[in-house]
């Protein structure tokens, strides 16, 4: 939990603030019509953050950080016979190694997504104020105008599914690594690429199921 959660806080914070800031600046660049109130930028940035940017971008980053870490750790245990040692002792090695990681992911990744949501919007507010796009009060007003708990539900659903994808795929790839250091590295790469592909696939599936009007 410490590795997945606390260990990922700095990278999640940095990425969230910058993505929030960039989204605000780019949205302002596209909304040039005087007919559209400027607070709409706040609405777009906050909704985009909750629905897509926070869960998907954060989890793609976590697939690289946490996924590679899990796959290499478990893969290293495989090639150094530590998993065989567990089996000889009569311990169900897949459950013993995989389950705690999956549970830790299911608890910590949604927490990181909530944290990312808050920082994305904060980054947006900061960018809006520093670049003179609009004052924070207007941004917040725009964000509050259209906020519903359903958007947060979609965000958390994605977080839970992506957490399951990252931890289970990474553990699987590490568990079935075979050979030496080279194969452990390959298992790490496979874990990251497959996690990313499945995250994007489930992102589409969840959006289709939950947001299909």
């Amino acid at each position: 939990m410490n590795n997945i959660g606390v260990g990922s806080l700095p990278i999640v914070a940095i990425i969230s603030i910058f993505v929030g800031a960039v989204t605000t600046v780019q949205t302002a660049f596209q909304l040039v019509s005087p007919l559209i109130p400027v607070k709409v930028i706040g609405t777009i940035v906050s909704d985009s953050s909750l629905l897509e940017l926070a869960p998907t971008i954060t989890c793609l980053v976590l697939a690289g950080k946490v996924g590679a870490n899990i796959a290499s750790e478990v893969g290293n245990m495989r090639v150094t016979e530590q998993i065989d040692a567990l089996e000889v002792m009569g311990i169900n090695s897949s459950g013993y190694l995989g389950l705690p990681k999956i549970i830790a992911g299911l608890i910590m990744i949604p927490c990181l997504i909530i944290f990312a949501n808050a920082l994305l919007i904060s980054g947006g507010i900061l960018a809006a104020q520093l670049t003179g796009i609009m004052p924070p009060s207007e941004f917040i007003q725009g964000a509050r105008d259209t906020f519903t708990f359903f958007t947060l539900t979609v965000s958390m659903t994605k977080a839970i599914v992506f957490a399951l994808v990252i931890t289970s795929i990474s553990t699987y790839e590490g568990y079935f690594a075979d050979g030496g250091a080279l194969e452990v590295g390959e298992a790490g790469t496979r874990a990251v690429t497959r996690s990313c592909i499945f995250i994007l696939f489930f992102d589409f599936v969840i959006a289709k199921i939950m947001l299909n009007a």
Binding site: N76, T80, E81, Q82, D84, A85, E87, V88, M89, G90
Partner: protein, 243 residues
């Protein structure tokens, strides 16, 4: 008593073990020797249940390990200790935690009793002061001894050792051999050692099996091995090349 009856094992259609029959008695080390690629490690993995043979029985005091259900196998596995070639110590745990790991998982003893048992096992392998160190902080010989301490932490009846001397200098190698002989006699356990170290075989091999190309080509005591080496070409080559 450990018995192997008619054991055959193949990988992707290529047979690597042919009709292995053997008996291993408790109290004295049993050695399986042979060149690399001869099937020793596969045989050991079959014996401890890491690989499943196509045919044959592995009897632990009459209990057929191959054909028992998961729960019954689990009971036998708690009677087994194993020293791996690379020691297989858990990197994230200290030496004491490694030794105490099987106790933590399976025994119902209190924390204090567990600590006493861990200290006893570490003292038994002359590593009394190393409990707080991590595997990365100790030498190869010490790792082997921690592996032995972990193997005997539970009250085991069977000890399997995969190349216990590999990567060790001759003096440390001798220390490990003596430790295995002492522990085998002291606890009256059935010890099976896989080795390609002829010196080790001659020092401690109360009973020796010579495995060649997946078949047992010779079995006997260390006293008879040189005479046998003159009659069996492959054994002779192995003895001469490893001395």
């Amino acid at each position: 008593m450990l018995e192997i009856q008619g054991l055959n094992k193949s990988f992707s259609g290529k047979q690597v073990l042919f009709d292995i029959n053997a008996e291993f008695a408790p109290g004295k080390p049993n050695l399986i020797i042979g060149a690399s690629g001869g099937g020793k490690s596969v045989l050991l993995k079959c014996m401890v249940g890491l690989l499943k043979p196509e045919t044959g029985n592995i009897l632990y005091d009459g209990r057929d390990f191959v054909h028992l259900d998961y729960e019954q196998v689990k009971v036998i596995r708690q009677e087994i200790g194993m020293l791996f070639q690379g020691t297989a110590l858990f990197d994230s745990l200290t030496v004491a935690e490694n030794v105490g790991f099987p106790l933590k998982m399976f025994s119902k003893t209190s924390a204090a009793e567990m600590k006493d048992r861990v200290n006893f096992c570490l003292e038994r392998v002359q590593l009394g002061g190393a409990g707080d160190k991590y595997p990365a902080e100790i030498s190869g010989g010490m790792k082997k001894r921690v592996g032995i301490a972990r193997a005997i932490a539970m009250d085991i009846n069977y000890l399997f050792c995969d190349e216990p001397n590999s990567g060790l200098d001759p003096i440390t190698s001798r220390v490990i051999d003596e430790l295995l002989v002492d522990i085998t006699a002291e606890y009256g356990i059935t010890t099976v050692i896989i080795s390609h170290d002829m010196k080790s075989a001659l020092d401690i091999g109360a009973k020796i099996l010579f495995l060649y190309d997946g078949k047992i080509r010779w079995r006997g005591s260390k006293d008879a091995i040189h005479a046998a080496g003159k009659e069996i070409k492959e054994l002779g080559v192995f003895i001469n090349s490893s001395q």
